[in-house]
Subunit: 170 residues, 2 copies
DNA sequence: CTATGATTGTCACTATATATGACAATAACC
DNA sequence: GGTTATTGTCATATATAGTGACAATCATAG
């Protein structure tokens, strides 16, 4: 090996969009969980309330499909939120197997506060970037998400696509 | 409440940078894990090999510090890679408590293949975006990462900052 | 109307990952 | 020489996620 410069073969891991997205996404998710914790919620709870607020009375299965999670997982989420007095399981008007889920008054009070927490995070995240770049960034991210086949508003961290990527025993 | 338009209060969850980053970051991490799986590695293994390749002979503690993980976790990672014949625990030249970690020939052979897998993912991720926008995107992401206090090349998913965000029992 | 199969919500069980604390060996310090 | 800190290891708790089974109910076929 002659006079090679020795440090050429290292490709900048930190200069790749995929790595940066993974870094920032993980941090962003942690941060959101932390901001939600004082309200007694986890991100999945927030997502459920958001989805439900757009159309109350859905069954657990409907919600699970919309959020991309398994109905078995939905049971636990609904249990949590019911115990915290944020949603109610009522009788479904047409299907006696299913429950009709409804937000309580407490949820209608809490949800805006959670949204404000999200707003604060967004503000802090984008603090160092001017308006034009923010819009450009968000547009680019949306294009990436669309191109990657991600559904708007559906978080893959609560996935149930059967692939089970975290399984191989090394 | 009078004649309000009813659907104004829903802020577009899918239009927030923080949510998009979380979405794309999660997907990106899954995707990378999938691409690495055929090589018998997980992302943390890849990270370890990358860090070690820049300076062989490090102790486990040194590596753990560099990667931002706990030394107890490092034991398992090193076990995995040692069993797969990718690294060796040799005697540390100056500290008989510590091991000096070294890559094997197999690792020097495997690492470029793993890096190529990452390249392919990067290419696919950015497929729909032209050169100028790619550079702009990466620059913006780097600014966000820097502003968020993320160390270049250190993935927070393997964190050990003692905060333990996933603990509150709801 | 009844019989068969599909769907909904629930639960129990399993595996996996993650964190915590203890430990022996060794080093560093005074 | 004696005390304290560090390194690597292990055992254990804890949380999370995935799987399969189940009763109740619905839908459909005959």
């Amino acid at each position: 090996m002659g006079e090679i410069t020795q440090r050429a073969p290292i490709p900048p891991l930190a200069g790749r969009a995929s790595f940066l997205l993974s870094q920032l996404g993980t941090r962003s998710a942690q941060e959101f969980a932390n901001r939600l914790a004082p309200l007694g919620m986890r991100p999945s709870h927030f997502g459920l309330l958001m989805h439900l607020s757009q159309d109350e009375g859905q069954s657990q299965q409907q919600l699970a499909d919309a959020m991309g999670i398994h109905r078995n997982v939905m049971v636990g989420l609904v249990d949590d939120l019911e115990n915290r007095g944020l949603i109610e399981r009522r009788r479904h008007p047409t299907d006696r197997r299913a429950h009709a889920l409804h937000l309580t008054a407490a949820a209608h009070d809490l949800l805006p506060r959670a949204r404000r927490a999200a707003d604060e995070q967004e503000t802090q995240l984008l603090a160092g970037i001017d308006e034009a770049d923010r819009n450009h960034l968000i547009a680019l991210l949306q294009r990436l998400a669309d191109h990657a086949g991600l559904s708007p508003g559906v978080h893959p961290g609560l996935r149930d696509d059967g692939s089970s990527a975290a399984h191989r025993p090394c």
